[in-house]
Amino acid sequence: MRRAALRWTWAVVLCVAAVSGEPPAVPKGFDFPLIQYRLKNGLQVILSEDDSLPVVSVVVAYAAGPVREQPGRSGLAYLMENLMFQGSENVSPMQHINYVQRIGGEFNANTAFDKTYFYESVPSNQLALALWLESDRMASPAITGATVERAKEALISEGRQRRTAEPYMESFFIFDRILYPDFAYGHPLIGTEEDLKRITEEDARAFAGAYYVPNNAVLCISGNFGVSKAKELVAKYFETIPRGGDVPAPPPPGSESPPPARDQVVGDPLTPSPAFHVGYRLGRLQASDADALKIMDILLTHGKSSRLYKRLVKKERIALYLSGGLEERGGLTSFRVFAISPNAIMADLCRKAVAAEIGRLRTTFVPEDELAKAKVLFKGAFLDRLTTSLPRALFLCERHLQGAPLEDLGGEFNRHLLVTPVTIVSLANRLFKPENAYGLDLRTK
């Protein structure tokens, strides 16, 4: 069967929305073309043209991250990210970087808990080079005893440096495990030194063979290119890469999770100042709840005008540092806050203030102007991810791997703008219950 090509433009979505009397017109920034199709070997392809500048970004994202690791082999996904720069059948070690840099391009990779991205942005006349490089390492990554040992050494050294330089990092790992008790969802991305040492060439080969295959990946090209030429190049470089075995979904979280201790205290003489994590396990959300939750998250934690920053850092000055936000792993969403305080008394006050601010959302309607401000921040952040080639390609890959319909991005955007003060009060009461709250206090001993 010939592959089916779907071409969407937001103008079409706009018409449908207008006829049905649904949310307001899709705003500017969404009127970019989008083509999606699948190769015979299962590789999902997304093309999005933008001729503003003669640049093009190529992203290959694999649905593989630490969630695919087995106990005793933590760090394998991150190691695999590193190995992908160690060369492939036709590209010598580190030559990938040289090829891209020589033409003024930019590149990088990153690993999330369930996916790994590889990407480069190059002048648009070099699209074929980017596809050649990505296809070669998809087809034949250089996984040898030597490359695996080199990558292990680099990661062990990086892990040691980060553990020294980032004194609170370990506490994030502990709290991950509290919010996501299953090994697959809660273990650290950088792995443990013991596990990294244990990883063998065979482990890496098996991981790549199972997950770094076209039918477990998505390729997105975004920027200045011609569609027919791009399709031709994609077919040339990727279509002949053999399909891998079927990739089963990771086991859903929750089945093996013992109930975590609600509140834990860790004393560490190396902790520079007292700090704490608080989090709410919110479970599986409906789409409408997820939209409202994003707006609520912005109200609470985004930027210096957020409720928590204003109260904890600016007004009461009981926090020196504050971060927080939503996280979704395996379909389970959590909301978390981390704060560092000058002393233990202030840390306690701080934690109570976080609970009070969440309580306020349950009992008081958010003023319209504050809600409007949160929506403006949401709009800005959402549009930022679509206006230049690389962020757009990364975003499209991410949303595809999350199972979101890309043709409805405009609708998704608009639904967030429909959130009302009533929605937020109702959501806060349903989800932010005391029995969903967990905490981890860090003391200097």
């Binding site: 500048l53 003669p54 020589r102 003024g104 930019e106 050649w132 403006v376």
Partner: protein, 483 residues
């Protein structure tokens, strides 16, 4: 079908399949050739001068849902009165901290209500305020900007808070050996020149009064000394009308500004050490005065810089880190001002490698090493610069910044559109000629690190002047002298 025919057909099939596989293998063996170089056409910079002298510059990008605003006041650190350094920076940070009608908190609320953030950067010759907003909030953004620029009131409480914040910010930055080393380099290069005022220590901040700030504002924050750049989906006519609505009551004032000649290049060999007792490694920062962006040598110098230290594939990084193993990193670069530039090399090296690293960097900048630059290297460097340039224009704020540079450095409206063409024209002869001119005078060498760790190594140099972080000369080390 007889058996032999079946075998033959089978063989043919295998051969055909093998042939296909071989063909596939073949195209994978080597990198594909690029298509012809695409033309980079940046949007034109259109500008108009309002009746009060305010220059409005517009860079149009129709697809953009956001607008980037940059207010560029053509006065910076070098314009602070000679005895009160830091005034330019404090004045800049006081913008948005109170007006005759609005408190700092109210302004902050208004900025936040449109999802904006007013970012301030005071450099030597100019001060840039950046404000990015959604197109739908443009009028509200202009209203806020109009209020904070036209009605700045410098309330006492906000003034003290700004001074405190800048003091601690500078104190904090002094923990970074690169910052300390570069500041010391500039102190030497700008010696006897008004630019030197920009290299102040945090303690001078306490000497600045509200009256100093008000006087600086009164003199320089004038429409006829300001460029307002708007990048986004708007034409010049509409932009001028909307900007004029909020800025037309800003009163111009005649500015008595005199032509400031650029600093002269350093001509003497000098090695300076800055003692940072807690530093573990040695940080090297060396450099000299270089040509401005308007000079004919600018583009050959960009190519030369790329060859030397623009990226990890350049000579300095490959030599000092990959080949010799002396350095954690080694790069070169250039800061540009209106009438000159400052070329620099920065490297972080292990304590025992500090002396060979300095010598190796100087050798790389010398005629012998540069005499070996090949046409191939030139073309590679040009390929990088041409290929990378569009990426530096992707973000709307970068596009606005380029337009601002055109105005503040008087580059000419088509400067950035001629960038690629000017790089293409650079050849080996022009690079070598520029290298002779710019790199022949010896650079000032600054090493920052712990004197306790490094004293025994730097004794190998004939003479090293040792300074503290504040820039006070503590003592001089001579080769062969024990103490």
């Amino acid at each position: 079908m007889t058996l032999p025919r079946r075998v033959a057909a089978g063989l043919l099939c295998v051969l055909l399949l093998h042939g296909t596989a071989a063909a596939q293998d073949k195209f994978r063996k080597s990198p594909p050739l690029p298509d012809p170089l695409p033309e980079l056409k940046l949007p034109a910079i259109e500008s108009a001068v309002l009746s009060n002298g305010l220059t409005v510059a517009v860079v149009r990008r129709p697809s953009s849902p956001t607008i980037s605003l940059q207010v560029v006041v053509l006065a910076g650190e070098a314009d602070s009165p000679p005895k009160i350094p830091g005034v330019a920076s404090i004045t800049a940070h006081m913008i948005g901290r109170g007006t005759s009608l609005l408190s700092a908190a109210e302004i902050e609320d208004r900025i936040e209500s449109i999802g904006g953030d007013l970012v301030v950067a005071a450099s030597l010759e100019q001060t840039v305020f950046t404000f990015d907003v959604l197109e739908e909030n443009l009028d509200r953004a202009l209203e806020i900007l109009g209020a904070v620029f036209l009605q700045a009131s410098f309330p006492e409480k906000a003034f003290e808070a700004v001074k405190r914040a800048l003091y601690y910010d500078l104190a904090e930055r002094q923990k970074d050996p690169e910052f300390v080393a570069k500041r010391q380099l500039l102190r030497h290069l700008f010696k006897g020149h008004p630019f030197r005022i920009a290299t102040y220590n945090e303690d001078v901040i306490k000497n600045v009064s509200r009256q100093d700030v008000a006087a600086f504002y009164d003199r320089f924050y004038r429409p006829n000394n300001t460029v307002l750049v708007l990048a986004g989906n708007m034409n010049l006519q509409t932009a001028s009308r909307r900007i004029s609505h909020f800025f037309n009551t800003w009163a111009p004032r005649k500015l008595d500004r005199f032509f400031l000649p650029p600093p002269v290049p350093n001509l003497e060999e000098q090695i300076t050490f800055v003692d940072i007792p807690q530093a573990r490694e040695a940080t090297i920062f060396l450099g000299n005065i270089s040509p401005p962006a308007t000079a004919p040598d600018h583009f050959p110098f960009l190519v030369l810089n790329q060859i030397l230290g623009g990226t990890p594939g350049s000579r300095l990084f490959m030599n000092l880190r990959e080949s010799k193993g002396y350095a954690y990193y080694a790069f070169s670069g250039e800061d540009l001002f209106k009438r000159c530039g400052v070329f620099w090399v920065r490297a972080r090296v292990t304590p025992e490698a500090v002396v060979p690293s300095v010598r190796e960097i100087l050798r790389e900048l010398g005629p012998e090493a540069l005499g070996k630059v090949s046409s191939f290297e030139i073309e590679q460097a040009k390929s990088f610069l041409i290929g990378n340039f569009p990426f530096r224009n992707e973000a709307l704020s970068d596009l606005a910044l380029r337009a601002a540079q055109v105005r503040s450095f008087e580059l000419g409206d088509d400067f950035w559109n001629r960038y690629t063409q000017n790089i293409i024209l650079v050849n080996l002869e022009r690079v070598l000629e520029t290298a002779r001119k710019v790199l022949e005078p010896p650079p000032v060498v600054v090493i920052a690190g712990s004197i306790g760790e490094l004293a025994e190594h730097i004794r190998e140099f004939d003479r090293v002047d040792v300074y503290d972080i504040q820039g006070n000369l503590k003592w001089t080390i001579y080769k062969g002298v024990d103490k």
